[in-house]
Symmetry: C2
Subunit: 304 residues, 2 copies
């Protein structure tokens, strides 16, 4: 049985532990801050790898950013990572086999192998957080595309409200269906809809209303918050209809911070009423907060 040093590299923190081939944790999970300088980051990687040198056969990274087709390098721009991160050849960090995969792809693989979509070779994991990410499993294979960058579902254009995304493009799914998107919808409705006048937030400036306010407003039966959340949900549903119609997928797994506010049954009914392919199941993620490490470890064992 191979042992894997699994490392999840985020913009603010870095998490690591040893797992077996199935992603079961064999050591305590450790956390540390992600250094802001590429040389410090590289040194930290080497230090962690040497610490576990005697106990592991493979090193597996899950990281922000699009990963090249050989699983050795991050190729996209990664604004939250140190400058030079996308020049780092991960395979040089150890004499052992090193594997790197995008964190959303790794999380999707974990959901397929040990999470909410086990035994479903056609499934999609959508991450709803600050942004919107996606990992697509097709015929039991992770969809990576010609260059490893596939799955950029957050950039799908879904709507005509002409919203400008943080990427400066227009009408990206992410700009509507993310947590940030919910806040933006809250601002739009506060500015343009008289329903705001009777809201519990009416004394706030539209741009001050947060995602948390809307979620809290739902519990307090605030009509404005309900309207905002419903529009957000409709935008989310449009994106999920689109990918269901294209992939005829068995299950869409919802992960990320916004997932907990979703009624999966309600979403499932709305999507299945509108699609032209066979019905899809909507489930919440099960592999947990460390799904990136788990998925990367399992993928690495499949490769090496």
């Amino acid at each position: 049985m191979k042992k894997v040093l699994a490392i999840d590299v985020g913009g603010t923190k870095l998490t690591y532990a040893v797992t077996d081939e199935k992603g079961n944790f064999l050591t305590e999970i450790k956390k540390t801050a992600t250094p802001k300088n590429i040389d410090e980051l590289k040194n930290l990687f080497k230090q962690i790898i040497s610490e576990y040198d005697n106990k592991t056969d493979i090193v597996a990274f899950a990281t922000a950013g699009a990963v090249n087709i050989d699983n050795t390098k991050v190729e996209s721009s990664t604004p939250n990572m140190p400058d030079g991160y996308n020049k780092l050849d991960f395979s040089t960090l150890s004499k052992k086999p090193v594997f790197v995969e995008n964190d959303a792809n790794a999380a999707a693989w974990a959901e397929y192998k040990v999470g909410a979509a086990v035994n479903e070779p056609n499934n999609i994991t959508i991450t709803l957080g600050t942004g919107v990410g996606g990992g697509f499993i097709v015929n039991g294979i992770l969809l990576r595309g010609k260059s490893g960058k596939a799955g950029e579902v957050g950039s799908m254009k879904i709507n005509g409200r002409d919203r400008i995304c943080t990427c400066h493009r227009k009408n990206c799914f992410e700009s509507y269906a993310s947590g940030t998107g919910l806040k933006k919808t809250a601002e739009e409705i506060a500015e343009n809809d008289s329903i705001f006048k009777n809201s519990i937030y009416k004394t706030k400036k539209p741009e001050e209303i947060t995602t948390y306010d809307i979620i809290d407003g739902l519990k307090k039966n605030d009509e404005y918050s309900k309207k905002v959340f419903n529009i957000w949900k409709q935008d989310l549903i449009i994106g999920l209809i689109n990918i269901t119609n294209i992939f005829d997928t068995e299950t869409i797994v919802i992960s990320g911070g916004m997932g907990e506010f979703i009624d999966t049954k309600e979403l499932e009914t709305a999507i299945n009423n509108e699609i032209v392919v066979s019905p899809v199941k909507i489930k919440l993620a099960k592999a947990g907060n460390y799904s990136g490490m788990i998925g990367a470890a399992i993928l690495a064992c499949d490769k090496f």
Copy 2:
């Protein structure tokens, strides 16, 4: 070398011939009208199959409609086909192996195996005709989904102009990017934009303007026609951006009647300026009018 009786079943006509394993035609291609009655259609199938009985090893159908995962039956509603078409079990038509695949999927497979996307294991064929169809090749495998219905890209919602599609849903890609969509855009602009007052078509009623008028108007430098065509092209580009971002595909092959009016280089530049994945190539289809038969024949030989 296996020999295949390949039959393309459309709403109005039926085309058939014998091919080898690579889809090369070994006999003359014959055409006949598609009977409007299911029993007549079944009898015609049997008659054609018996005619070639001594010369072929496999029967392969390309057909309108979504095909089940076992490639034996059409499962979707097919309004242009006789009632009962989706109850027909194709495997009962002959003692030999019988294979049936959706015509857009078969055409995509032909483009991948012998057409415009040879040696490109990640490619997509989009058919722009009366409707919009799609066939998706991922890692060298035809994307079929959990039930065989994958690839319904025409039902992707792309826009907020609230156009009602022929399927009665709102904002389908097909309702904008098809030939029918171009006519609908022509009508919209004629009704709402003063540019129509100076058009060569100004004496026509908006609903009388045809797709052909717009194409002809381009050649005659009619500003109204140019505006209509540009909006149609922008809508098409949005859909192609979406699928490129999700699939990170190497090539999009454009087939169908509207393909001939497209400047592939212009489209390629517009798409590559907007996507977040690696650049995509846009090519016109090469496998020709009989790509459905060719693709079905090659797929059938792979299966049997």
